[in-house]
Every structure is written in C-alpha cells, then in structure tokens.
C-alpha cells in the first residue's frame, strides 16, 4: 500500500486518496438521508400525519454517541503521542459507548412502541423507525471498523506507521460523520414535529 502513498506525492492534491474517497462516500450517504428527510417533509405536508412526542431516551443516546466520538478522538491523540495503554483503553471505551448507543436506540424504539407508535401504522411513525433504523445500520458499519481497529491494537505490536495512522483517521472521520448525521436527524425530527 506504500505504492499508493508514493503515487500521490507528486500531485497537487495533497489529501490522501482513501480519505478523499471516504468524503465522497459520506457525500453519497448524506444524499440518501437528504432524500429520506425530504420524503418526510413532502409526506408530512400532505396531511393525515400522526403527531407524537419523541421519546426522551433519544436525547440520552445522542449524548452517549457524542461522548463516544470524543473518546475516540482522544484515543487517536494518544496513539500519535505514544501513550500506548491509554490509546488501547480509550479505543475500547469508545466501542462500548457506540454499542451502548445502539442499545439505547433499541430502548427508544421500545418506548415508541409502548405509546402505540407502530412501524405499520401512520407513516409518521414508519418514517421515524426507518430513519433511525438505517442510521443505526451506518453506526453498525462504524462499529465494525472499530472492531478491526481494536484487533489491530491488541494483536499487533504498537507502532505508529503511516498505514495505521491513515486507517485510524478513516475510522475516526467516519465515526464523527455518523455522529453528526445523528445530530442532524434528531434536530430534524425535533423541529419538524
């Protein structure tokens, strides 16, 4: 993979190609959620729209996800500055918080269900389940990347290489992305009630 690094050194664009590719991928994910939320707005304006309050647990899960993001960031800083044990521990903690986010989302769905908002009922409920569900799938993808990171951290000898650094950055940026995406969705869902 070092060949790749060499290939882009001489070009004017100094961004790592894989990082750039990730940003383009994020743009396309953003378009997908843009489509979901515009469909939501269009459908909502057509009337026959059930109104209900968002379960408070979604706010708790937001905090958990934000904290997970911050922890991963400081894990990355420790990775760079040679604090091996701190880097490993924080990486693991961030993963646990990410997992906790999913559990809380599930709790949120259960809370919705208990107040009678069913997936099958009025589209306002269906949209909520689909939006949060597909976001959760993207979080799951981030967790998979974190698992790979954790395996690398605990099985390989600690060493700051160009390759590991870029992999970490990719994971970190994606994790921040699903985080911001969730905040967007929450604000959207909150104000468009």
């Amino acid at each position: 993979m070092d060949t790749l690094t060499q290939r882009y050194e001489h070009t004017t664009n100094k961004i790592h190609p894989l990082k750039f590719a990730l940003w383009i991928g994020m743009a396309s994910i953003t378009m997908m959620f843009g489509a979901f939320t515009s469909a939501y707005v269009v459908r909502q304006s057509a009337g026959n729209w059930l109104e209900f309050e968002l379960p408070h647990i979604f706010f708790l899960s937001t905090i958990v996800l934000l904290v997970s993001s911050l922890i991963l960031h400081s894990s990355y800083k420790s990775f760079l500055s040679g604090k091996e044990s701190k880097y490993k521990l924080l990486l693991l903690t961030s993963f646990v918080f990410g997992l906790a986010f999913l559990v809380l989302q599930y709790q949120g769905w259960m809370a919705l269900f208990s107040i009678g908002i069913d997936l099958k009922g009025n589209p306002s409920g269906s949209f909520l389940y689909v939006l949060t569900g597909i976001h959760a799938l993207h979080v799951l993808g981030g967790l998979a990347a974190l698992v790979v990171g954790i395996l690398t951290a605990y099985t390989r000898k600690y060493k700051v290489t160009e390759r590991r650094k870029i992999n970490f950055e990719l994971t970190l940026q994606y994790w921040h992305f699903v985080d911001i995406l969730w905040v967007y969705l929450l604000i959207f869902l909150y104000i468009s009630r």
């Binding site: 290939r7 001489h10 750039f20």
Partner: protein, 617 residues
C-alpha cells in the same frame, strides 16, 4: 514479445518522466501471479474494464433479444410463436385446436420490463461507464491504477452478483418483475398485485440494490482517481474530454443513486414490513387492504430524482468518447474545449432540477410544472453547444471514415434527431397528448438508447487495440455501422407517427382499437427492421471475439496518431501501465495540426516558440 525500437515517446518519458519507484516495490505486481488473480479476481483496472465490457455485452444480447420477441408480438400478433416454445417454455400458450402458440400477456410485460431494466442499468450504465471509466481514467491521466484497486474489484463483483440475481429471476415460475422498469407502486409494492410482483420483484429489488452499491464503489474510485492521481503537469484543463465526462458522470451517479436507494428502502419496508409509504386505499380482488396514508407519487419523485440524472449518466460518457474520437480522426483539435467542459457541467447541474417532467400527467401542480418545463428546455442550450462544437470539429477536418469515426458521427446524428423530440416532450401541454405513447418510446430510444450505444461502439472500435493489442475487422465494422444506423432509424422513426396518433406504449396488441388498425403494416415494418438490426449486432459480437485472436496485430504503439497518454504505454500494457517512469504532461490533449505537424503528444515539452506565445498570454 520482440524488442521494439524505442520511439520518440519512450525517450521523452525516460528523460522527462516522473520516477515513482513503482516497480521497485512489486507489491502491485505480486497478486497477478496466478490465473485466478490475474483474470478473475483482478484488481488491475484494464482487466476490470474488460470484465465490465464483456458482461455488458452478454446483457446487451439478452436485453436486445427480449425486444425482438416482443416486437414479434407487436408486429405479427396473429402468427404462431410455437417455434419459440423450446426457449420460452410455458410462456408460449398453445392453442390445442389450431396448434398455434401465442405469447403469454403477463410474460410480454415481463419482457418489456426486463428489457428496460437490463439495457438502462446493466448495459448502458455498467457496460458503458464501467468499461471506459476503468480503462481510460488511469491510462489517460498517467496513473498506475485506480485510487483503490480493491474497491474497484468489489465494484465489478457487486455488479456481477446483481446480474446473477436478475438472471435467476428470469426463470422463476411466476416470472420476473413485470410492472415496468420504473417499478412504480402499487404494482411493485404489493406482492399480490401481479404474478411478477412477488418473488420477481423481490429479486429485482435485491439485484438493483447491489447494483447501486457497485455504482457507488466505482464512482468513489473514479472521482478520487481523477482528482488525486493525475500525473505531473496534468492540470484539470489539460484533461481529455473523456475524463471530464467520466468525472462528471461519477459525481452525478454519487449524488443520485443514493436517492434511488432510499426510495428502494421505503419500498422494501412497504413490501416486507407492512408500512404504507407508497400505499393507500387499495382494493385487490374486491378486498380492501389495510394500507393507509401513503402516496405512490412519493416513489415517483424519489425514482425520477435518480431517473433523470441517470439518462445523463448514460449519455455523458458517450459524449466524452465521441468528442475524443471525432477529434482524433478528424485530425483537428476539438472545437471549443472549454465550452464543451462547461456544457457538461451545465447539463449535470440541470439534470437535478428537471425530474418532474417525467410526472407531468401524475397530478403534480400545473403551476410547478412550468418551472420544470423551463429548466427542461434550457438543457437544449448546452446540448446545442455540444452539437455545434462536434460539427465544427468535423468542419474542414482531414477525416478518416473508419468504424470508430462513423459511429461517432452517427452518434451526433442520432443525438440531434432524438434531442429535438425532447423539446416537444418537455412541454407539459404537449405532454398531455404525447405521454405514454410511442412518441416517448421513439424519443428516448434514439437520444439515449441508440445514441449511447453508438458512443459505446465508437469507443470499442477506437480503443480495441489498447484493450486487446489487435484491430477489429474494418469491413465488418462498416457493415455493422450502416446496418445499425439505417436500421435504428427505420425502427424508431415510424414510432413518432404512431405515437402522435396516440398509440399507447406497453400494450400487448392493438386489434381491439379501430383507430390503430391503420398501423398494422407499420408495426410489421418496425419488427422486421428490429430483427435486421439485432442480426447486425450479432455480426459485431462475432467480429469482437474473432478479432481478439485473429484480428490485425497492432505493430506501433500509437496507431491512430493520438496525443493522449494511453497511446504511450507498451502494446501489451502490463500492471502499472508504464514499465519505467510515469510520463509528465506539458500540453493539452488536442494539439492536432499545430506548427505544421500532424499531432503533438501531451508528453512533449513546449517548443521555444510555444513558450514565447504562452508568455504573451
């Protein structure tokens, strides 16, 4: 391979090239050691391009073959199709008394649906853009390979998997999906709506979802490679128009396919989870269903937000290829290079704000329709700029009328005649008469179906030597061109008249309508033309595979005398594209007939005279 004397270009690359130490690492070369990794799970962009091309060709034969079958039904509805029974089995219904066989009406719809799906997505999206973006982006930019060869390989295999699933759906006992390639609900959302809406639609959705993944993985790679891996000196304004077209195509695809995916997810939820995003107040067989509150128009919005950019995803690569082929074989610089780039960008931008012109008759607000009419008609402006520039490129050129050039000129002809009818259809008032008639069929087949195929053929004939080291047979190529051009007009020109008379598309037969009886002989004419054109494509396929082994060998690196970088690579282009250093670029891609020379390669440094001129500007 015999040692070929070093050409001027080799010496230039050695002197001026950029040494990236690529071949000292051998990391890239290693995985090519075994047959499986060299030809099947290859990560080399040139092999992946050929995989896309050949898979696309197989799908093109299947898709076009389907059209021949339903054209037989439309042209000769009363003749026996019993001879197709070995191929179609029980989809040919036999009449016991007379012994004649007729096409099952349900299967007729399935054929129409699959023809559209296959040609639009598998042939003209994957086969066209997948082949040429993969082949040309690294070669014309001076890159060793794609930014991520692994994602590139995945992109092909997701496409392959999508193809396998779609192919399997053709053999379901209930038949493949039959509700039209646009998959409008409720036919697509209710498994009980028609026999193809059950398992057939499920497989259609799975297949196309995988296809979206393939397009996205490919697109990410194309954009990153173009923006990050250009060689030294290859500024954006020095890129060949092919690359501009592929770049913009990939950007459109990345912005529009996710929207289609979101539409699919909601559809999947409606089908599998019992939600009602697209469904409301529906009765099937007298039974009221408990879906309520959804809107089928919502799907149309989501679908056409992809669907309209999709036609530019299809046509832009063809436009890029045609610009390049016209310039090379007219031995002239492309006329209005910057205008060409700006018109590509303008078309790309406009493609996102015209989607509702597919929905004028679906009950959208007529006032809002006006905006879509205006934006739609504005697309004629950049399109006309492109057509004007192609014609002026030809003007006074030293034209070589070989197969690639003929197909490129044919593209311009088709794009004009198909584009003009777009001006009719873009008007919401005229659309009241024209919508869902054969006029629409004629319009989009000429402007996007046949024209894009012509762009693809021009590209295949032109870059065949780069892909296989041999040329395709010229005589067969010319025969292929004339049969296809005349035949395609013979098929689609009469459809304009039929459509203006109001004959609706997708109907199984017309003898129930007195008004349409006069078109019987015209329909027969169209069917015969379609069979001849299909036979001409078989000629092309034979030529293609025959030439791989028996075609005239390529003896010089740059047989067309082109300026672009792909013709500075060895005839047998190995992994990493250039054996030593990467060439550096000193000029734009269209220096033809400059300073009394026929062409000047992009890798040649500016002469003293040119430098002086440059300083003046």
């Amino acid at each position: 391979m015999a040692e070929i004397a070093k050409t001027n270009e080799d010496i230039l690359i050695e002197e001026q090239g950029y040494d990236d130490h690529f071949h000292e690492h051998h990391e890239g070369d290693k995985y090519q050691s075994s047959f499986i990794f060299k030809y099947i799970f290859s990560m080399d962009h040139k092999i992946i391009a050929r995989q896309f091309l050949i898979t696309g060709m197989i799908w093109a034969i299947i898709g076009a073959g389907m059209s021949v079958i339903f054209r037989l039904q439309l042209g000769f509805p009363d003749d026996s199709l019993a001879w197709l029974k070995p191929l179609l089995g029980r989809w040919i219904q036999m009449n016991e008394e007379t012994g004649t066989g007729s096409l099952d009406p349900q299967f007729y719809y399935a054929l129409v649906t699959m023809h559209g799906t296959i040609i639009v997505f598998f042939v003209l999206t994957a086969g066209l853009s997948g082949t040429f973006s993969n082949l040309l982006i690294p070669l014309q930019l001076g890159a060793r390979d794609m930014a991520s060869p692994f994602l590139n390989m995945l992109s092909y295999w997701f496409f392959f998997l999508a193809g396998v699933i779609m192919f399997y759906s053709l053999f379901l006992s209930t038949g493949p999906f039959s509700g039209g390639w646009t998959a409008y609900p409720p036919l697509s959302a209710l498994p009980q709506a028609s026999s193809g809406s059950g398992a057939g639609m499920t497989l259609w959705l799975v297949s196309l979802t995988l296809f979206v993944v393939s397009v996205l993985l490919g697109g990410i790679n194309y954009i990153t490679t173009v923006l990050n891996l250009r060689t030294k000196g290859m500024s954006l304004w020095r890129m060949p128009l092919t690359i501009w077209a592929f770049l913009v195509t990939a950007i459109i695809a990345l912005l529009s396919f996710p929207v289609l995916a979101s539409g699919f997810f909601l559809l999947i939820a409606d089908r599998g989870l019992g939600t009602s995003f697209y469904l409301s107040d529906i009765f099937v067989a007298g039974q009221a269903l408990d879906y309520t509150g959804g809107s089928p128009i919502l799907f149309q919005h989501l679908f056409w937000f992809l669907g309209h950019p999709e036609v530019y995803i299809i046509i832009l690569p063809a436009m890029g290829i045609v610009s390049e082929v016209l310039s090379v074989h007219a031995r002239k610089p492309i006329f209005g290079y910057k205008a060409m780039v700006y018109s590509i960008l303008a078309i790309a931008f406009l493609s996102f704000i015209v989607w509702a012109h597919h929905m004028f008759m679906s009950g959208v607000n007529p006032f809002i329709s006006n905006f879509f009419v205006i934006f739609t008609l504005i697309i004629a402006v950049p399109s006309a700029v492109k057509v004007f520039n192609w014609i002026t490129t030809l003007w006074g050129g030293n034209i070589r009328l070989n197969s690639p050039m003929l197909f490129a000129i044919g593209f311009v002809s088709l794009f004009i005649s198909g584009g003009l009818t777009g001006i009719f259809l873009g008007n919401s008032a005229i659309d009241i008469q024209m919508h869902d008639t054969y006029f629409v069929v004629a319009h989009f087949h000429i402007v996007m179906g046949v024209a894009a195929m012509f762009g693809m053929f021009a590209g295949i004939y032109h870059w065949y030597p780069k892909m296989f080291g041999r040329f395709m047979n010229e005589t067969l190529g010319k025969l292929h061109f004339w049969l296809t051009l005349v035949g395609a007009y013979a098929i689609f020109w009469p459809m304009h008249y039929i459509g203006m008379a109001g004959v609706p598309r997708r109907y199984y037969r017309f003898d129930g309508f007195d008004a349409f009886g006069q078109f019987t002989s015209m329909n027969q004419f169209i069917t015969i033309a379609a069979i001849i054109v299909f036979a001409a494509q078989i000629l092309f396929v034979v030529n293609f595979f025959w030439s791989i082994h028996k075609g005239r060998k390529m003896v010089t690196k740059n047989p067309w005398g082109a300026t672009t970088l792909e013709w500075t690579t060895p005839i047998q282009t190995g992994h990493g594209n250039w054996p030593g250093k990467i060439p550096t670029v000193h000029r734009w891609a269209y220096d033809y007939g400059r300073d009394g020379r026929e062409f000047i390669s992009q890798i040649e440094p500016l002469s003293e005279k040119e430098k002086a001129e440059e300083d003046q500007h």
